[in-house]
Each structure stands twice: as C-alpha cells, then as structure tokens.
C-alpha cells in the first residue's frame, strides 16, 4: 500500500511539476500576477509529493519488502540497517529518486529564501526548475520506476553491492547530488535572466549565494568520493581519472570559474554573457555526467547497469535542455552592455585568466574522457585514455592558475599596476623557490617535487601575507575575506599534499608468511597471523599486522579480505593508520598456497596524504564562510522577520 502511495505521489508530482514549469513562466511573460504566484506553492507541493515517494521507498527497504523489484535487487535481510537506508540510492532507479528529492529541496529553498527578489524573477527561476523536474519525473516514471513490483516475491533479496557497503555510501552520493542539482539553481537564474532580457548586476547578486552553496556541496562530495575510493578499493589510489570521476570534476571546474566570474559581474557589471554561459555549462556538465554514468557509453567502475533505452531518454533530455538554453543564449546574450572599464592589469583581467584556464582544463578533461568513444564511433578502433594523459595535460594548466591566484588576490578592481605588487611578491617568490628546492634536495630530488612545493609555498606565503597585513589594520573584516583566503590556502595544502605523496610514497608488494617483517622507511610491519572472522553478512580473512617505528610499536592494523555471499569477487578492506604526516596503508591479497601459509600483501607508506583531505575541507570551509557573510545573512534574517531586505 505504502509503495503504491509512493508511486501515485510521483505521478502527482509530475503533474505539479508540469504546472510549476509552465504557468509561472507564462505568467512572467504575460505579466499575469496570479500565475506567477503559483510558483512558490507549486514548489512546496512538489517537495511534499516527492518526499512522500522517497519516504515510501525508504520504508519498503526498512520493511524488507521484496515484492518491490528494486528492493529485492539491492538489499537483503542481513544488511545492516544503515545500509538498508542508503541502499535507496544504491542503484539507478533509487538514485534518480534521490536526484528528484534534492531538486525539490533546492526548489523549495529558492521559494523560501527569495523574498528580496521580484516575483517575476522568482516565478521564472522556479519554473525552470519545475521543467527540469518534469523531465526527470518523466524519465523515472517511464523507464526507471523504483516502485515496480516483482512476482513471485522472493524470500530473500540479492544484496547491496558489497563495494557500496561502506559509510561512504551514506554521504557521498547525497553530497555529490546536492552539488550537481545545486548548479541547476544557477542555471535557472541564468535562464530567467535571459528570458527576461535583463542580464544585470542584480541577477549576479541573487544567484551568487546559491552557486556558492552548490559548489561547497560538490567539492565536499568529490572529496568524499576520493576518500572513499582510497579507503575502500584497496590499491591506495585516490584519483583515477575514471570517466565518472571526471564527470564530477568538470562541473566543479566550471563551477569554480563561475563563482569567480559572478564576482566580476556583481562588482563591475562585466563578463555578463560569459557568466551566463558558465552557469549554463556547469549544469549542462552535470546533466552530461548523468548521461555518461547511466547510458553505458563509457567504460567505468562506477557506471550503473546500463540500458540503451535509458541512454536515449537522457540524451534527448540533454539535447532539449542544453540545446534550448544555448539557443536562448545565442539569441539574447548578444546585446548586453560591456560593463565598466577594465585595464590590462586589473583584478578583472586576472579573473578572466582564471576563467580561461579553468575552462580549457575542463575542455581537456572532456576531450580525454570522450575520446575513446569518439574514435570508436568513427570506427577507428578502440583505445584507452588514462591517468598518464590527464596528468600530462591537466597539471600544466593548473600551474599558471595557482601562480596567478596570488596576483589576483592583490590586484585592485578596474586598474592595478605591477609595481604595487612586485616588491612583496619578489621576496615571496624567492622564498617559495628556495623551499621547493630545499625540500626536494633533502628528501630526494625530483623536478616534480621542487616545482609542486614551490607552487604550494608561493600560494601559502602569497595568501598569508596580505591576510596578516589586513588583520593588523583596524576595522571589521567581513567573513568573505577569511573565506577567500581559507579556500585558496586549502588549494595550496592540497597541492602540497599531492606533490609530497606522489614524490615520496613507498609501495611494497610481497609474499609474506606469519612472522615475517616488511620494512618501509622507518616503519616495520610484522604479520602476526591471519584468522577467519564472521561479519553480519560476510565471511572474512583478517590479517593482524603489528606496526613499529624504530622499534616502538605504534599500531596494529587489521586488513581484511571479505567474501559476501552475493558476489563472486572478494572485497578488500584495507587497514589504514593515518596522521598529519603520513598514512600507513596495508591491504591483504590472496593466499599463495593451499593450505594457506603465505599471502600476497601490499604495504604503502604515503607521506602527507591526509593533507589532500585537509585541503578539500579547507576549501569547503572557505565556501561556507563566504555564504555566511553578513550580506546574505542579513537578507535571510530580514526574510525570517518579515522585513523587506
């Protein structure tokens, strides 16, 4: 019954979404106040209906209702409760329902936090979001219905894919989707502005906080995904340039360009058309990512089970959404004013270079990701494009970006001169180069380490210096100041972490028996024993490894090799000991003889690996600080107290 209720709720949601998508938009075009004011109630109605459907599916999982095909395919009675909830988005159909739920959340948030905007604008934005919802609801109801029944009802479900039975599943997809879907708000604002024919500063001011929040979620989601891969996959890697990873990175890169470009549009009225294009592109890349993951077009670990019909639907949806928005752009954006004057050397021009570099990087990642498919489509063979390509192409683009970051922070709007910065920057530059060189010389020379450290220190020193200087001066400092510096520092920390890990990590792949020791640097790893343990829904071989540093025991690690009854592939659970200076990573392989006396195991010493997560968290914090800036809080407070902002 509940399941049917959920299904009906979705159908009703489709109808509401359709109304939400059409009427307010028509109302804005015809100045019909009544239709425009349907926007907010429709958004709230949709949120309630989609949430009902989502709750119904979650309920079906909790109650182990295996008469629902999706539940039977992704759960079983022995699945721990936490994963039974997260399994709602463990498969294609449910993850689309998650997408819809989060889209409804964003839409209703726009409905609530938009009192300071004219009704016509709000109507247009909510309409566009409604149209997107309509598309996804149609997709779900026609090709990917999570409420489909299964007869005869099996006694036991198949089980959630063991790779997903990890705390990461509980937060990574929701965070990531909050980011993907969040860019639809920036997109909606851009489309609303184009439709109104008013690409002005106000639009940029309104859409900036929404874009920032979406960016924060996406950054956090990508970082979580990376961390999860690191802890779960067992081979010590954290970024693989896998097509699905790239599908999340591309909107992030464009999103970063967008938040910087919005700054220019808001402050100086420049780059209007470009910012609109970036907003359209960010969401388009989100949609493209959805297509790539679900259509079976690319070879990836993450891809959902693919189905050509689904692929065709999403492709048509993509064509309609992106095609019409780019057509609208071509039609309306050509006649915008250029904005205030801008010198060759100015904050604007530096932020322009930020856009250029990020967009070229996105294009490079897109090219590399799609190239195998393109070559295959042209019948020119099958080739692979992997990390060596992406690293070769992406890193050189990031170098000038990081270099210019320091200049951009110092440059003044409208016009700035090199002389202003040259003196302090000279000493910072020398310090950065020296530190890079010294680190590389001391720990083992490599150009990569020297360069990476120099760049990281350039950003650290170049960001701390103006920050400290400003702190010394009197006067209140807005949160956005700290936000910017925190995020930029986070980038530097990330770069330093990556440089040192790549430069100095040690890996040993050994055959080891109980009692043997492996040494990596100062650390020794002794295998004590391998035992068999039972988990709630798996059987595992667990190794006990004693870790010592210079003779003192510092940790015991328990890597496991789990066998879930539902799948033939054994799952590796790596054991990690982490602190700020290094990660110790051990993973257990296969027994090498029968009965097992020797095992294949991998041991890694990864210096400064946690700096990668730290860097991402700092960027996320920076974004959150930017959103909590007084300007935005003021308008939220105003709305909550009923006073016009």
């Amino acid at each position: 019954m509940i399941v049917e209720l959920g299904h009906y709720a979705l159908i009703l949601a489709l109808l509401v979404a359709l109304l939400q998508g059409v009427l307010p938009l028509a109302g804005a075009a015809t100045r019909n106040w009544h239709w425009q004011s349907l926007a907010r109630p429709a958004a709230i109605m949709q949120f309630l209906l989609v949430s009902l459907a989502f709750a119904a599916l979650a309920y079906a999982f909790q109650e182990n209702d295996f008469s629902v095909r999706y539940v039977a395919d992704h759960s079983n009675t022995r699945l721990p409760a936490m994963y039974r909830f997260a399994a709602v988005w463990g498969g294609h159909e449910g993850s689309l329902l998650l997408w819809l739920e989060l889209l409804a959340v964003w839409t209703v948030s726009v409905a609530i936090f938009s009192r300071q905007m004219p009704l016509a604008v709000v109507a247009r934005v909510i309409s566009v979001l409604g149209l997107i919802s309509t598309g996804f609801l149609l997709f779900v109801l026609t090709t990917s219905n999570p409420f489909e029944r299964l007869f005869p009802v099996p006694m036991e479900g198949k089980d959630l894919n063991p790779l997903l039975q990890d705390p990461g599943l509980v937060i990574h997809p929701p965070m990531l989707y909050m980011g993907y879907v969040g860019f639809s708000v920036a997109f909606a604002f851009a489309i609303a502005a184009l439709l109104a024919g008013r690409l002005d500063v106000a639009w940029a001011r309104w859409s900036r906080p929404w874009t920032l929040v979406a960016w924060v979620f996406l950054s956090f989601g990508i970082g979580l995904g990376s961390w999860w891969a690191y802890t779960e996959l067992g081979w010590g890697g954290w970024w693989f340039w896998d097509p699905v990873e790239n599908a999340s990175l591309m909107p992030w890169l464009v999103g970063t360009a967008l938040i910087h470009s919005l700054m220019v549009t808001e402050k100086r009225g420049s780059f209007k058309a470009w910012t609109v294009l970036l907003a359209i592109s960010a969401f388009s890349l989100s949609l493209l990512g959805t297509f790539l993951v679900r259509s079976g077009v690319l070879n990836s670990v993450h891809a959902f089970a693919s189905d050509p019909t689904r692929g065709v639907f999403i492709l048509i949806f993509l064509a309609v959404v992106v095609g019409s928005s780019l057509t609208l752009f071509a039609w309306r954006a050509g006649s915008v004013s250029l904005g205030a004057k801008m010198a060759w050397v100015s904050r604007e021009s530096l932020l322009l270079s930020n856009s250029v570099l990020l967009v070229v990087a996105t294009a490079a990642v897109l090219l590399g990701t799609l190239y195998p498919m393109v070559i295959d489509a042209l019948n020119m063979g099958k080739l692979s494009v992997g990390p060596p390509y992406f690293n070769t192409v992406f890193v050189p683009l990031m170098v000038p970006l990081l270099f210019l970051m320091v200049l951009g922070v110092r440059a003044r709007w409208r016009e700035s001169t090199l002389q202003e910065w040259l003196h302090p920057l000279r000493s910072i530059g020398v310090a950065a180069l020296l530190s890079g060189g010294l680190v590389a010389l001391y720990f083992g020379w490599s150009w990569g380490v020297a360069g990476g450290m120099a760049l990281g220190m350039w950003v650290v020193l170049g960001t701390l210096e103006p920050a400290l200087e400003r702190l010394r001066k009197p006067g209140k400092i807005p949160l956005s100041f700290f936000a910017m510096h925190c995020a930029h520092l986070g980038m530097a920390v990330l770069v330093i972490g990556v440089t040192l890990v790549k430069g100095y990590e040690i890996e040993k792949d050994v055959r080891i028996a109980a009692g043997d020791t492996v040494t990596l640097g100062d650390y020794s790893f002794e295998l004590q024993r391998v035992t068999e343990v039972m988990g709630p829904n798996y059987v595992a071989k667990r190794a006990e490894v004693l870790v010592k540093r210079n003779g003192d025991t510092i940790a015991t690690l328990y890597p496991e090799k789990r066998r879930y009854p539902s799948t033939a592939m054994p799952m590796t659970e790596a054991a990690i000991d982490t602190n700020l200076w290094r990660d110790l990573y051990v993973s257990l392989g296969e027994p090498l003889n029968n009965p097992a006396q020797e095992w294949s195991m991998r041991f890694y010493l990864k210096p400064f690996l946690s700096w990668i997560w730290l860097g991402v968290l700092m960027m996320v914090l920076g974004g959150l600080l930017a959103v909590s800036d007084k300007r935005y809080r003021r308008s939220v407070e105003a709305r909550l107290s009923g006073v016009p902002a």
């Binding site: 592109s281 070879n299 492709l315 993509l318 498919m373 393109v374 099958k382 029968n594 097992a596 020797e598």
Partner: protein, 196 residues
C-alpha cells in the same frame, strides 16, 4: 562578435552527434589485433600422456577452431554442451587449449609443484571433467603457465578462434560460444574459408 555566440551551440550539436552514435557501441568489447594475423606458434604437451607435442602447424591445410578453456571456469561449463553438439557434426576439428588448469592455490605450501607434477594433475583433472561432460575436442593442448594464452591475447576464458588453412586467425570470440553465434558468424565463416 555576433557569430561567435553560436559557437557553444555548434559545439554542443557535434557532441550530441557523437554521443548518439556512441550509444550503439559497446565500450567493453575489445576487438583482437590478432585477427588476420598468423596464429602464434607454440609447442605443448597434450591431454594424452606420452611425450608427443602439438603445434598449430600440424593443422595446416585445414580450417580449424581453437577453444581456450579450463575446468575452474564457470562460463566454460555453460558453453560446453554447445561445443559438444557442434563437434559431433564434424564440420571442423576443434582443438582445446587447457589454460592454467593448475592454479597457485592448488600448490602445497613451500613446495611448488614440478612441471611434470603439474602436467599430471592438469591431465587428470581435465580428463575426468571431459569424461563426465563430453569431449568435443580432437585433442587438447596443455598451456600450464598461460604463456601461450598471452601470445594469443587471452584475457577472459572461454575464448574461441577460427583459423584458416594457412594458419591465419580469422575470427576471435571472447566469452562463451552460443548457438546463435555459431549460426550467424562461425558457420558462414567456416564455409567461406573451406571454399577458398
């Protein structure tokens, strides 16, 4: 400045076209570079005990098929009845390549098996299996360490090759041979090769 505003749309249309074509392709299917190349030479012991070795040259002048299999391979078990009934027709000789029958986990601790012991174990297991499930092979070559498999680009047993009278590989199937595949691809190919 006006024309340039159409560029994003134009690029998108091109992208869309590629995606549409890409939907019909299977990115997991990897064609073998060995097709239309001479079958790599090898010289291996066979299932029958005794010292006689088998080489692909022995099959010159005949169209034949090489089927890579092992008793530990699940998909091979599914494919086996299809091969047995196909072999009964006697259209072409079917040579089996027993691929890594003896695995590392079969070896007792600390004492790797000698090649002779491995061969004996492999023979015993394969013979028992074929006795139970039917033997479609005119003979079986024993690739114990997988080197021949590597030369033939084997990465997912079962795999099947169709080789022509001059010892050139004409077709490679990765994965189980199905009756449909036999009808649509393999039979016509064999007939065509037999005519030349």
């Amino acid at each position: 400045m006006k024309k340039i505003i159409l560029v994003p749309l134009a690029l998108f249309v091109v992208l869309l076209a590629f995606l549409a074509v890409g939907l019909r392709r299977d990115p997991h299917e990897i064609p073998s570079p060995l097709v239309n190349r001479p079958a790599p030479a090898f010289s291996l012991h066979t299932l029958q005990s005794g010292q006689s070795l088998f080489s692909p040259e022995a099959m010159r002048g005949k169209v034949w098929m090489l089927n890579v299999w092992a008793t530990w391979c699940g998909a091979c078990q599914e494919e086996h009845p299809v091969l047995v009934s196909f072999a009964r027709e006697g259209l072409v000789p079917l040579v089996g390549l027993s691929y890594k029958e003896v695995q590392a986990s079969d070896e007792p601790a600390g004492k790797p098996l000698s090649p002779e012991d491995k061969l004996a174990m492999a023979r015993m297991r394969s013979q028992a299996w074929l006795r139970a499930k039917g033997d479609p092979y005119s003979l079986v070559a024993m690739d114990l360490d997988g080197r021949v498999g590597i030369d033939y680009g084997v990465y997912g047993v079962p795999e099947t090759y169709v080789i022509d009278k001059n010892g050139v590989i004409r077709y490679k199937q990765i994965g189980a041979v199905t009756p449909a595949l036999l009808e649509q691809k393999i039979r016509p190919l064999i007939q065509e090769l037999n005519r030349s």
